[in-house]
Symmetry: D3
Subunit: 117 residues, 6 copies
Amino acid sequence: MDRLKQFEEYRHRMNDRIAQIDHLGIKRFFNLDTNAYEDGPLSAKTKELLGLVASMVLRCNDCIDYHILQCVKAGWKDDELFDAFNVALVVSGSIIIPHLRHAVETLDKARERQING
Amino acid sequence: MDRLKQFEEYRHRMNDRIAQIDHLGIKRFFNLDTNAYEDGPLSAKTKELLGLVASMVLRCNDCIDYHILQCVKAGWKDDELFDAFNVALVVSGSIIIPHLRHAVETLDKARERQING
Amino acid sequence: MDRLKQFEEYRHRMNDRIAQIDHLGIKRFFNLDTNAYEDGPLSAKTKELLGLVASMVLRCNDCIDYHILQCVKAGWKDDELFDAFNVALVVSGSIIIPHLRHAVETLDKARERQING
Amino acid sequence: MDRLKQFEEYRHRMNDRIAQIDHLGIKRFFNLDTNAYEDGPLSAKTKELLGLVASMVLRCNDCIDYHILQCVKAGWKDDELFDAFNVALVVSGSIIIPHLRHAVETLDKARERQING
Amino acid sequence: MDRLKQFEEYRHRMNDRIAQIDHLGIKRFFNLDTNAYEDGPLSAKTKELLGLVASMVLRCNDCIDYHILQCVKAGWKDDELFDAFNVALVVSGSIIIPHLRHAVETLDKARERQING
Amino acid sequence: MDRLKQFEEYRHRMNDRIAQIDHLGIKRFFNLDTNAYEDGPLSAKTKELLGLVASMVLRCNDCIDYHILQCVKAGWKDDELFDAFNVALVVSGSIIIPHLRHAVETLDKARERQING
């Protein structure tokens, strides 16, 4: 199974498991998290880009994968995403280069998916 | 002297001092940093917002102050900035609440400045 | 005005200002944050100690001050708090020593307050 | 081999290798680390929970695995551990959700082990 | 394929892919990064050691692997590298122990390579 | 009182207070910390530079001040220290620029001290 599919399957399965725990605080946090990226004063599209850059500077590959898939769905183009990667790189420096590699690979995989439908 | 003026004065003075060091790598980094926020595939306005959210999740008050002043200049409105603060808060959690307080205070000061010309 | 009083006054004033922004996501986050430290499967007392250690390893002085005041209210004794400081110190290393100094100073101030009523 | 067994085997093997280096500072640090979680003014049980929350907010999966196994041994129940996870989630935000998934999976594996003896 | 070879192959392939993106800011950053470790007022050898300790305290395994290979090439001996590991361990605490294990394993693999030519 | 004197006075006073707590783990950690920078396979001079770069990439101003004073005592020259600052800047990016300003200011103050004896 390819890396993105594997990530999505694991994410889905474990989010279900966490929902099943039924801890009110945790459930509310997951709702807050979903709502934070919905249209508001800022568009959902803009907020996904904010989420992506935040994930890169904080160096979380799973978060990067999730937000790249969302950014692609939201209609961001490659050169725009590369420009956002550059902001993350300048802010957080060479320590995030491994995450930049990961992000570029994920973006390429996400584009293949779009082509292959 | 008010807090924002003091920050700007110190930032200006020390950036001059750093330029005077004349280390090629450091000088080039400062150029890269400036260029990262100029119009490109993403607008300068969008990139300032990315810089602001990155500064909040990484918890750097001076960086927050700088990017809020830039965001205000770029034309972002309060409700849009609050929506970006919310993304930062959900991504990085309560540990950034002190920086959220700081950001809101800075934004209020920046608006006073605009009114007082 | 002493440092703790100043912190509490600023925290109170800015939290009011943030509430006034009336951003639904931000308001809900603040509620979640409050609820996270209430009695549940773990006691409020235990959760304040968790909040304190989290604040120390993440190196946030305002968060440390807040949780020390809460821990003192919750009845934790000095030697217990020092033992928690030690866990934080071993986990996060010498980089948190400046925050350990701050924490010890805050704890001493909090005890003076108790004595002076 | 299952993920937890693999982690324990690797941890054990590399800790032995590190001991063999025979660097006095490193050896003493490992002793300090072990001692930090022993009964003192705070119980070993409480300190393992502190270690777990510190590991979550600092986003270290190996540290999370280690402290979950220790917390299970120390007698913490699932609902208590979920309550601690919630504190970590609120403190550090959505960036730790991948680590929350990992922690819940590890806890489930640790419980299976207990059942299967 | 062994872990180090795999890392080098992936690093090389993705750096090529990133170069192909042809984003001026990103390209310049990669140049700055390369130049930062060349002989200057500090020797390249010293700067590789700085890069290694920075990578350890910031907890980036790929960065650790890269700088260990560079440090070995630059002529640092095992006991010197262990002494640098100890500084990183004291600065950043037990949270980096998993990265210390990784670093020691990588160093052992790098020495095997030297022996096997 | 100047900023460096104030820092040294506070550091000294609070370290004394922490010693007085007499927690065995904390005392041993402080010893480990002192020993980590003494001559060994690496010279004390080299280790102070490692401590300085670690402090910069981890963004701790008090730690930066301490290690700059130590580096000056150990005989590092300005252009060497600037070269180390550059490594830290490239590794950790623009988020550490406020700490770079602080470091340069501290270094200038430390040199004035040397001149004024």
